[in-house]
């Protein structure tokens, strides 16, 4: 088993529209892979498909060598495949603390729930301050922190992260990336989708560029040149 997670000729879409097709990507254990790409390229859709929130049209997903396409989302979570979604897929009428507690739903994480919660509170003191506030009334940035915190409560083995810096202040963005850097050092496998290319590349081991439903570049971080990447982006928009 070379790769922790891989896809083979994966296709998915909504209704009559095909968003991406024949995607074969690989994610190595313990490493951080960054997927960048213009808006609407299908990055979020790809992550959701990996999680089983969207049913693929064709192709295969393999986790630890096992085919995963038929596996329901909740089993993937229990196996350690976790996603921190973009936007706010929060439990908006539950309190901040309850949201975090729900992150510890997978059986193996329940024991360490309190420890993890305190850790998250330490990372995001604002959440601790607002632990009894309804999640739906949080500010945009606070909600983002909560989504990240809740994801960490799930003790991921591999974590798919969709635009974590969205709506965060510059200080907070730095904070987030240093958290991911630490996780990476703790050997967590990370798949990061991010528009903040600059920051994202700093922690990446491997980079994919996704454009209009296709991977147009796949290179180890060392080989990627920021300028070239931007040019490639531009090639589409021009």
């Amino acid at each position: 088993m070379k790769y922790l997670l891989e896809t083979e000729k994966l296709s998915a879409g909504y209704g009559a529209m095909e968003v991406f097709w024949d995607l074969s990507l690989t994610f190595e254990a313990g490493r951080t892979t960054t997927i960048v790409g213009p808006n609407g390229a299908g990055k979020s859709t790809f992550l959701k498909t990996l999680m089983g929130l969207i049913e693929p049209r064709a192709g295969d997903i393999r986790f630890k060598g096992q085919s995963y396409v038929k596996e329901p989302t909740w089993n993937r979570i229990n196996d350690g495949l976790v996603m921190i979604p973009e936007g706010r897929l929060l439990f908006s009428d539950l309190s901040v603390e309850e949201n975090l507690i729900m992150g510890a739903y997978p059986k193996k994480t329940r024991k360490s729930m309190e420890k993890n919660r305190d850790h998250v509170f330490q990372l995001f003191p604002r959440l601790k301050e607002r632990r009894n506030q309804e999640a739906g009334t949080l500010s945009g940035g606070e909600a983002q922190m909560l989504a990240i915190g809740r994801g960490l409560m799930e003790e991921p083995e591999i974590c798919l992260v969709d635009e974590p810096s969205l709506g965060l202040s510059p200080v907070m963005t730095n904070e987030i990336f240093s958290i991911f850097r630490e996780l990476k050092e703790d050997k967590m496998t990370i798949v990061l989708v991010e528009q903040n290319t600059n920051q994202a590349l700093k922690i990446a081991d491997h980079v994919y560029l996704m454009q209009a439903g296709k991977v147009t570049l796949s290179e180890p971080r060392e080989a990627v040149d920021l300028q070239r990447l931007e040019d490639l982006y531009f090639a589409r928009t021009a």
Binding site: L53, I77, L90, F91, M102, G136
Partner: protein
């Protein structure tokens, strides 16, 4: 004074029972946004099972509880299974579905048990219970009240302190997010319908031992339960308790100091006033941003 005390006492007992009837509906409503218009009929079904068991075997109708639960849980799960088949406009379409099932149940009961009225034969339940020489109730009413409080309390604890309970609340809050926490939403919903079945069975047997049953009351039970659920605020258990007791006491007081035929008027008026001041019910969360 004595009148007032008795009126409030009667009202509280009544309210406890109302709460028991309403809470199953509130649970399903809170978790799936499905208004189970057959809920009252499920309660009634349990009551008829208690009747059937008592009249066939002569044993205490409370002992019919296991059978009542088994049947009502099964019925509740069938309802769940069917509502789950509706993929579009579930909130509205489930109205039709459960309304249809309610009709089926009412008419089924009518065919099997005829339109006669029934009540328990066991005199024990009707014995008086006198508190402080001046507050009167039947044993069965006190029993129903206690069962109601325990059921509500237990459910509240379960929803807030067990993983199953929390899962139910999460699924109702955001299905996709719940999946991402490793929950199987369908399983969680199945649980809440099964528990609604348990609660309906409890309520039904209590109904049978406290009062008289005949087929058309299923519908009025549904309406009462629904009113209390909305008064409570979407799926709030403390809200159900407070709302039910409030309605019970208002009815008791109006009957005593005006007349019974105005008690509905009074409770509806209070219901409206509460909603106009608190548009999401007594314990409802504010409707989003």
């Amino acid at each position: 004074m004595e009148l007032t005390a008795q009126a409030i006492f009667t009202g509280l007992l009544m309210g406890g029972f109302y709460g028991l009837v309403a809470v199953g509906l509130a649970l399903v409503f809170g978790t799936m946004k499905v208004i189970n218009l057959a809920h009252g009929e499920l309660v009634l079904l349990a009551a008829y099972i208690a009747y059937a068991v008592e009249s066939q075997t002569g044993i205490n109708p409370l002992l019919a509880m296991p059978i009542a639960m088994a049947v009502v849980i099964a019925a509740s799960l069938i309802t769940f299974y069917l509502t789950n088949k509706i993929k579009k406009d579930r909130e509205l379409n489930s109205l039709i579905l459960t309304f249809g099932l309610g009709i089926v149940l009412t008419n089924g009961l009518l065919m099997v048990f005829s339109a006669d009225i029934y009540s328990t034969q066991s005199a024990w339940f009707m014995e008086g219970l006198v508190i402080a020489d001046s507050l009167f109730s039947m044993r069965s009413e006190m029993l129903a009240f206690v069962v109601g409080l325990c059921a509500l309390g237990g459910l509240y604890w379960w929803l807030n302190h067990t993983w199953h309970g929390r899962a139910i609340r999460s699924v109702s809050s955001n299905r996709d997010a719940a999946k991402l926490m490793g929950m199987n939403p369908t399983k969680a919903e199945l649980w809440s319908w099964a528990i609604a079945g348990v609660l309906a069975a409890l309520a039904g047997v209590m109904l049978y031992v406290t009062s008289v049953i005949h087929p058309p009351i299923g519908h009025s039970l549904t309406i009462k339960a629904f009113i209390i659920t909305v008064l409570a605020g979407m799926g709030s258990i403390p809200g159900v308790l407070v709302g039910a007791l409030m309605i019970g006491v208002i009815e008791g007081l109006t009957t005593t100091f005006f007349q019974s035929s105005l008690s509905e008027l009074a409770s509806m008026t209070v219901f409206l006033l509460v909603l106009l001041v608190m548009p999401s019910g007594l314990f409802g969360k504010k409707a989003g941003h």
